[in-house]
Symmetry: C2
């Protein structure tokens, strides 16, 4: 199935908003076996929308997923233009209007007359329900192409794709492209590439892509023959086994929380340079409250000393960014919160604070459990936010190697 | 000047990689006054690239900025296809090849034969230099449209845009579009819209866009007349003053850290439902170590009692998610870390843990300074990650209203 994603919005073209809608939709529909053929982004302008629709309806596309411009303000013109494009008559949906009015009243707001557009439906197209917002979607068919129009608010769009579009796609797909993803971290792309290249397998027509990011390198393989793909995936997994933390799309914090749940282990965190990011990522995982007791963000030296009982002498002798302090932090947080595992981070996130001996990006990560007390040193060289993300990823990878 | 951005890459269409190149290019060229008219993303396929070029050369575009597919590996086909498209003859650039070979040798690598493509130049087009990588760009003119082809590696692309494209654009721009951004939070888009609509200003041709996200609603206005735009911006700012946290693109945590720095105040955090996100966002701001002493992530009840001295009776009587506990948390963290301000979050992030009385999305935020101890209640109704983000935003907004 050939799919095009049409995103409408001046904010996308001005670069104000990164087009995560297009990539999210593409990612989820690709994983169902659809072939995403084109992304087109156009401004909130009548002629541009008509041109875009004309262009995509003329291409050999089975499904056009369109987002943006369904809201109640006057820069939201997509509904009107689409109605026009298909010669739709506007029908006012009283029951939906009453439902919306009640909902807004319950939240303490009055629904304005300008929101009436939210209750307009076409006489010759279908409506796609929206459980999370007021703007419902539209569905039209023309020749062999289906157009689905969704709001641009990511949360609402995502709910509608999951509830309405995915079942539709699943039902229609004939020749499916299978793909598999292997997630690695802590190893450069080129090393993975050389290892995978050496695998002895007649895999010339298997598509292999390498996708580096701050979180590591993902390897994505795809082919129409599932059996062949599985065989190749097993060979890759064997050859780079020690770098892989997930087969699929699971995040490393998900893998970690589930491993802790399975082994009935608990964890606590003492964060300096990551400033709460590790706790944040752990608590993004539903059910993490069973394994994560909490932690300390000891951003100042004083807080390390007062709240985590780090010896002032260690800080004076070795500096707050040192393996000695990292080890003490991990040990003390574990004891303080009475968990199986305690971990710590201390480093120089940047942009300031670096010296020749301790440059920006230098990070120590401490790990402590019943039997082991260990520290790892990293030299990241990016900017502040990147260094924090790389550190958190290294922490999760370190823990996974220990339990 | 009308600009189109053409991005080439299977990883963009599969949704594996978010298209930050298109938004970065758009953002920087818009701020120079260019009008970004279209984004088109196509796969690494010969026919798709030819179709894409045909389409854009047929539109009324002054400049096409194209990225991706100039590298040395065999899935990089852009150079070859573009040469073909313009009937270019390949000329081998010996001096560039020697330069590259030396550069690689100095870095301890050998240059592979497969990299020879990097030294090919066209007989009928220009070369755009690349200081940060081996793939140089291409420049062609056809009728009134200029095509610039750049590598997709963000760092290299950005260097080339800054050095070569921006000066070119600056030189060509005649009628510049000015824009301004106002950032709000804690208020629905429709309420802002109604207020802005009532402003008495002959502003019919000023473009006003509303951009809602989990962080709030941004209002972006643009016009070719800077004086007119400024006048209108001042009127908007007056009419919705209490909802605005920034004029421009600054994040709310940036605004907050700078306000604390200016007033020489310090802050500490006691996070339950946000699990470290507030600390993380504060510490994303360079210089935050001056104002943020640290905090506690008290994710379990036991940790609230043991580490933050919350009375077990409060938790028993009112529950961990209650205004009483939120207040105690804010008060105790402030005392413990000896900061001017202490803040706290406790809530039900979801998806589990909700009851009829305390549903998913219920959040209490506590604030404590020398004179004031206050709590706010919020009812967010989204998923776990969204509830955490909304809570952190509400916390920052709450603090800004108090100091």
């Amino acid at each position: 199935m050939r799919v095009a994603v049409l995103t409408i919005g001046n904010e996308l073209l001005s670069g104000k908003t990164i087009n995560t809608n297009a990539s999210w939709i593409s990612n989820i529909l690709s994983s169902e076996g659809a072939n995403i053929n084109r992304h087109l982004t156009i401004p909130d302008k009548k002629e541009a929308i008509i041109d875009g629709l004309d262009l995509l309806f003329k291409s050999k596309i089975d499904l056009i997923v369109c987002t943006g411009g369904l809201g109640p303000t006057d820069d939201d013109i997509t509904r009107e233009v689409v109605f026009d494009y298909f010669g739709s008559e506007e029908v006012f949906d009283d029951s939906y209007w009453n439902y919306l009015s009640d909902k807004f009243l319950n939240a303490g707001y009055q629904l304005f007359e300008s929101s009436k557009s939210q209750a307009l439906i076409p006489n010759n197209g279908d409506i796609i329900p929206n459980d999370l917002g007021s703007a419902r979607g539209l569905l039209y068919k023309k020749n062999n192409t289906t157009l689905m129009v969704l709001p641009g608010v990511p949360m609402e769009m995502k709910g509608m794709v999951s509830h309405s579009i995915i079942p539709w796609v699943k039902n229609k797909i004939v020749s499916k492209i299978y793909s598999a993803n292997l997630r690695t971290t802590g190893v450069p792309e080129s090393v993975l590439f050389e290892k995978v290249k050496k695998i002895d397998f007649n895999s010339e027509d298997i598509n292999v892509g390498y996708y580096p990011s701050l979180y590591g390198v993902d390897i994505r393989i795809s082919h129409t023959d599932k059996k062949l793909l599985d065989e190749f995936r097993i060979l890759i997994a064997k050859s780079i086994n020690k770098y892989i933390y997930a087969l699929g799309n699971e995040s490393i914090e998900n893998v970690l929380v589930n491993k802790f749940l399975n082994q009935k282990l608990t964890i606590s965190t003492a964060e300096s340079c990551t400033g709460g990011l590790i706790g944040h990522r752990l608590t993004n995982v539903p059910g993490s409250s069973e394994i994560y007791h909490g932690g300390l963000i000891t951003y100042s030296n004083q807080s390390k000393i007062n709240d985590l009982d780090i010896s002032a002498k260690s800080i004076e002798d070795f500096g707050a960014v040192s393996q000695e302090v990292a080890l003490e932090m991990a040990k003390n947080i574990r004891a303080k919160l009475k968990t199986n595992v305690g971990i710590s981070t201390t480093g120089i996130a940047g942009p300031g604070g670096g010296t020749d001996l301790k440059p920006v990006g230098l990070v120590y990560v401490g790990y402590c459990d019943e039997n082991i007390l260990e520290v790892k040193k990293f030299n990241f060289t990016s900017n502040r936010e990147s260094n924090k993300i790389r550190t958190s990823q290294a922490v999760f990878n370190f823990i996974l190697s220990m339990i």
